[in-house]
């Protein structure tokens, strides 16, 4: 197994874990964490691709590395925004659920009575 395959498999695993977490965890904070796991998987894959695509004599392809930094900043801002919203939601309502599934039905969807 080459290093690239190893990292690729790890990335796939992280992406799978993240997607699973986003789908099944009802709590928003866990969803935010799952989003970060998923993101890390994507970034790891990008890093592996950068290493594989290195020109002769270079440690890695520089373009993915530049993009990676940007991607991490974007994911960081997204996390910050999500956590801030969640904190505010908790402050205002006293709960931190997303569910329009059962109890909070009326407040989420005022059209139904």
């Amino acid at each position: 197994m080459t290093l690239f395959t190893l990292f690729g498999l790890c990335a796939a695993l992280l992406v799978g874990l993240g997607l699973f977490g986003l789908m099944v965890n009802p709590h928003p904070l866990r969803k935010i964490l799952a989003f970060n796991v998923l993101g890390t998987g994507v970034f790891l894959l990008f890093g592996a691709i950068a290493q594989r695509g290195a020109a002769a004599g270079m440690g890695g392809d520089p373009v993915p590395q530049a993009l990676l930094i940007t991607g991490i900043v974007v994911a960081f801002s997204a996390t910050a925004l999500a956590v801030a919203l969640l904190q505010r939601l908790f402050d205002v309502t006293g709960t931190a659920t997303l569910a329009n599934d059962a109890p909070a039905q009326v407040s989420v969807n005022p059209g139904e009575e």
Binding site: D61, L67, V74, L81, L85, L86, N100
Partner: protein, 589 residues
Amino acid sequence: MSPVAVQSVTTPGGLLLVLSVLLPFAGVLIGLVLGASSARRIALVTLVVGLGIAIGIAAAWLQSGATVVYLLGGWAPPLGIALRADDLSVVMLMAVAVVIVGIGIYARADFPASPGAPEARAPFTFWLLLLAVWGSLNLVFVSGDLFTLYVALELLTFAAVPLVCLDGRGETLRAALRYLLFALCGSLLYLLGAVLIYGAYGTLDIAQLAAAVQPGPVTWTVLALMTGGLLAKTALFPLHIWLPPAHAGAPAAASAILSALVIKGSWFLVVRLWFDVMPGVVTLPAAQLLGGLGATAIVVGSIVALRQVRLKLLVAYSTMAQIGYLFLMFPLAFDAGSNTLAHGSALHGGLLQAVSHATAKASMFMAAGLIYAALGHDRIADMAGVARALPITVLAFGLSGIALMGVLPSGAYLAKKLLLEAADGSGQWWWTIVLQGGAAFTAAYVVLVLVSVLRRRPAPVPVVKQVSRLSEYAALALAVSSLLLALAALGPLPSTLLSNPLVPGELLTTVLVILGGALLAQGLAQRPLLGSGQSATSSAGGPLRRAVLSVGVAFEQMDDFVRRWSVASLSLLTLALLFGGLLKFGATT
């Protein structure tokens, strides 16, 4: 693998592309520094200058007749980043500039500059986010590579999410968080696609990729992942989990931005991907699936819209239906001869549809907001007499409804005509039914609201707040511009498309659409269209009415089910898988 004839030099007017992105963000920063007292003034000045820049780009594009290009820092792709404005970009840039200016004028009264007051935070945030949405959208339209597009999309989401919860109520915060999390899920799928395609082709530049991509496992996966992710951000059925609460809960001006403009960003990206990056990878079954989702969105969205008792939710669900319309062009644009998606009348039709929807839907949300502000509620059933109290607003609502229906003369009419032509040309008769039926569904909820507001009422309707005349005229102006779009679009398009509206054939279609709509409204609405006071549940009605009503309820329940988080995220993955499968196995050899 040398990129073919990709313009890799900056063309005249290229700098304007940079300015179109830079100016709104500069406005945001200056506003942030100067504070709440001057945010509105800065925003309005930026709107005017930005409109000028958009016109400048259009002029540069018309003059040269070719794509306007700017290479950032003089570096050519794949190492550098190119900004490009082709025909699609120019049309969307102009449309967004006009709608944003309209929304800015409308919101002047809603979000005044009141320094010092604690409630000044909402106006302050609104004006800065309005500019941020604009800058991000412009970046979506002009960026020439997939990663810049990713950043632009994320910026757009970050600007749009706080707009949902400007008033800070618990339910809007929840809607905003749902929107953000689901959108993030979609954008990571998109990013994963971008990473994979870079791994295979070593570039993210759209023009270079278009020349290089070949159908294969990588491109199938990439297109499926990216499409799935973008559909989640566009809120195409069944991924509309976040749309109704977010669009209905936001203040009217913010809803207009979200509904008319923000969803167009990710939609535009789907168009870019399918038409410009991978036209050769697309297969007919995959395009049919996309069109089919659109058709389902029209049916479900319209029926659930008819069931709503509040005007803003009705308009929000109508947005969901209109999003469906935007995806009908994909199967129609498929060229069976070359097995690719072709730039042709179907694409023109789709683009025209997007522009007329942007103007008309903004106007409709503005009108709904004005009615809400004036009455203090937006229960459709209690709107008798509104037409007398707010004639201009009701006129704007009616005109934007007509524009959405696609009745002559409007941009949507021309769009429908182009799409029908493409349907005939490619022998896909079933899309003809969807297009005409969709118009009837649109007519249904427009008629439902109009009948309600036009109803007489013995005493004048109690108005709790005088609405700004300027806002009313802004809504009206956007509705009229949506109607007049047909004339503007006729410049580049053949004039044979526009026929006399009073020819028997045309008149018959129009009458049939409106009659069909009235019948649908009569059958499906919670209160029968022509019934006087009693509610539908108490009056038994005939067996037919009961049967139709139960269909409506069933659709409502289905919508509730589909909008659960677990169901929606499963649908997202299933759709990505389905697209992948259809891209792999759908190719006709």
